[in-house]
């Protein structure tokens, strides 16, 4: 049963994911896959992946651990109570110190039992920042783990997008290969019939050229089929789908839908603000800074208030009222005290402080590295997008003209006024440029995905 504060923390851990998945609490449950569909959109696949991914759940477990540590740190402010209860044989002890006793220690007569309960309550009063430091470190630790969940989600989103576009690319390539081989098969079949019938104008060399080119085209079919099968298998795996289930995508082929992208400078700013890696180092810096304060607090005494109480009684022993007489088996008292605890050492604490400072500096170095590396990633993604857009434009024009060439070459061939060589060259140019155009579309879509990832907007974009 989680308390209110803990439940609040839990919501923060999965806030980015709760918007798009059915995982709404940090406590991982057995993966609840959404119902299977006939055709999946990219959003469906991402949603399913985030809802069922064991990697995400693993990260959420880490966040759960961090929350438990925070609970421990928060509880450090409250008093700690130690209660010890014992029961044992009680040697008889009658009489008083002043009046004497008929019983002797060296000849004990055990004819009863005693019960003793001792309680000690310690309330920290002032620790020179130790408790606050632990609490801050634990709080930032939760933020680090939350950011790790988001980082993993962003990684998975990018991976699923890559696979989705890879499958569409493979599907387009297969379609292109089939389109060209269908045309070639017709031409080959017609030429073979003409050769068999010894028709005028029929040429063996034409047949060889057509068959050679067909072989060239088919060579790439297996590779495209492999890409298609691997992407399909991987998508089903990530989406938590059984290989026996029906699996189709909502799209047949790639499209290059224009999309507004933040300018590179703003993108770099967003990345430094939103990237989960940056959230991790920011929280890590605060946490290690707090841990340095914790170690430094050990240079000073820690003040506390304590309450000590004892209740002990034995039926066969006379309770002593003389304050100087002490019978641990038959006594009761309570005392409130103020105190301090101070551990003095000759270098151990200083060493621990230096170690904590070094950890803090290590995180700072990571932050500096991230502040240089992340903008570079954003610039690279933007550069790749520009390249993809330029290639798209160039290949768009290229394949359309190659298609015109092919239409004209086919028309001329049909009329007997065109060469088979021209038809083959046109088909080859069309196939090559169309394939390049498909690759450019894939690169364009992946560049957009990379920009979203690099600027730290991948999870937010999916939540829209």
């Amino acid at each position: 049963m989680m308390n209110a504060g803990r439940a609040r923390q839990a919501r923060w851990i999965v806030l980015p994911l709760a918007l798009m998945t059915t995982v709404a609490v940090v406590r991982p449950t057995s993966a609840q896959s959404p119902a299977p569909k006939a055709a999946y959109t990219l959003k469906d696949l991402i949603g399913r992946t985030l809802a069922t991914s064991p990697e995400i759940r693993q990260m959420q477990r880490g966040a759960e651990v961090a929350m438990a540590k925070k609970d421990q740190a928060d509880a450090g402010r409250f008093p700690q109570v130690e209660v010890t209860g014992i029961v044992g044989p009680s040697p008889r002890a009658r009489g008083t110190v002043e009046g004497g006793s008929p019983d002797r220690k060296d000849d004990p007569h055990v004819n009863n039992v005693f019960e003793r309960v001792e309680m000690t309550l310690v309330q920290p009063l002032y620790t020179f920042g130790k408790l606050t430091g632990f609490r801050t470190a634990a709080e930032e630790g939760v933020k680090v783990e939350n950011a790790k969940v988001e980082e993993k989600a962003a990684d998975l989103i990018l991976r699923v997008k890559d696979l989705y576009y890879s499958r569409l690319l493979a599907s387009d390539m297969l379609g292109l290969i089939d389109e060209i081989t269908t045309d070639l098969d017709k031409a080959i079949e017609k030429t073979e019939r003409q050769l068999k019938a010894e028709a005028p104008g029929a040429d063996e060399v034409d047949l060889y050229k057509l068959k050679a080119f067909r072989g060239e085209v088919l060579k790439n079919r297996e590779e495209a089929q492999k890409g298609f099968d691997l992407a399909t298998g991987a998508l089903m795996f990530y989406a938590g789908l059984d290989r026996t289930q029906q699996f189709e995508l909502d799209a047949i082929g790639l499209e290059a839908v224009p999309k507004a992208v933040e300018p590179v400078d703003r993108g770099m700013g967003l990345a430094l603000e939103l990237r989960p890696e940056m959230s991790q180092v920011r929280a890590g810096l605060k946490a290690t800074e707090a841990l340095v304060r914790v170690e430094e607090s050990n240079l000073y005494p820690h003040f506390f208030a304590a309450l000590n109480g004892v209740y002990a009684q034995a039926g066969n022993r006379t309770r002593q009222q003389n304050p100087w007489a002490y019978d641990p088996l038959n006594d009761r008292y309570a005392a409130i005290v103020l105190g301090f605890k101070y551990d003095l050492d000759f270098g151990i604490t200083r060493g621990k402080i230096r170690a904590a400072q070094a950890e803090h500096l290590k995180i700072r170095e990571t932050k500096d590295f991230a502040e240089q590396g992340i903008p570079l990633q954003v610039r690279k993604a933007h550069r790749e997008l520009t390249e993809a857009q330029e290639t798209l434009r160039a290949t768009e024009d290229g394949w359309r003209n190659a298609k015109k060439w092919l239409v004209a070459a086919k028309a001329n061939y049909d009329l007997g006024i065109g060469e088979s060589r021209d038809l083959g060259q046109a088909a080859e140019a069309y196939a090559r440029l169309r394939a390049d155009h498909y690759k450019a579309m894939y690169n364009y879509n992946l560049s957009l995905a990379n920009i979203e990832y690099a600027t730290g907007q991948a999870v937010k974009e999916e939540a829209k």
């Binding site: 019938a197 082929g253 001329n412 009329l415």
Partner: protein, 221 residues
């Protein structure tokens, strides 16, 4: 202010009415049909009907099916106009016999090519987009959408002959067949001769015919 407001309100109403009217009249992918579009569609539907006819699907029925397709195509395509336009300036240099012979060859080869293409039809979607008319000339823009959602734009250029519209050019993927043939014919006539062009086309027809029959011609030794 009030007058201005009511004027603005009236304009808004008119805009809404115009918008609703346009939405009712215009169906996406269909455009505004005209008489030329109707006739092209009628021919295309007729062709598809022949292709879908189960009684004409078997191998033995190929000849009968092709004859029906040829008849349907001939009714809509003006091959003599196509021939004339494809020959361009060389048309006037031809004798009536040469013209007749050329139209025959050209018709035969184009029919074969067209029928060959339509026989490869596998249920692609055909959309009639727009018709632009200019007196006796008209252009019907259509689009074939393949099963892979790829679009192949095809325009039919027609001219009026009595009450019917006849196709004299087809533009596939932006390539006008007439313009393409004109360039090719011109090149062959310039570099060789008109006779060489006819010889090439004749050879193609003979080759197609022989292949259809499937028997080698007896050679004179």
């Amino acid at each position: 202010m009030t007058a201005k407001n009511s004027d603005t309100g009236f304009r808004w109403k008119m805009l809404v009415i115009a918008g609703v009217t346009a939405a009712i009249l215009w169906t996406p992918g269909q455009g505004f049909a005209g008489p030329a579009t109707d006739q092209v569609k009628e021919t295309v539907d007729q062709v598809l009907k022949i292709l879908a006819d189960p009684t004409l699907k078997s191998g033995q029925k190929t000849k009968e099916r092709r004859a029906k397709l040829r008849k349907t195509v001939l009714e809509r395509f003006d091959f003599s106009e196509m021939s004339k336009r494809s020959m361009g300036r060389y048309w006037s240099e031809r004798t009536p016999e040469e013209r007749e012979n050329f139209v025959g060859l050209f018709t035969d080869l184009l029919e074969r090519a067209y029928i060959d293409r339509v026989e490869g039809y596998t249920g692609e979607q055909i959309l009639y987009l727009e018709e632009t008319a200019d007196g006796n000339y008209s252009e019907v823009r259509t689009k074939i959408v393949t099963k892979r959602n790829q679009e192949i734009p095809i325009q039919y250029r027609l001219q009026k002959a009595d009450s019917s519209w006849e196709v004299y050019d087809i533009v596939i993927e932006g390539v006008s067949l007439v313009n393409n043939y004109r360039t090719q014919f011109s090149k062959i006539i310039r570099t060789s001769s008109y006779q060489e062009l006819v010889k090439k086309m004749q050879a193609k027809v003979e080759g197609e015919e022989t292949a259809e029959l499937g028997t080698p011609k007896s050679k004179v030794r």
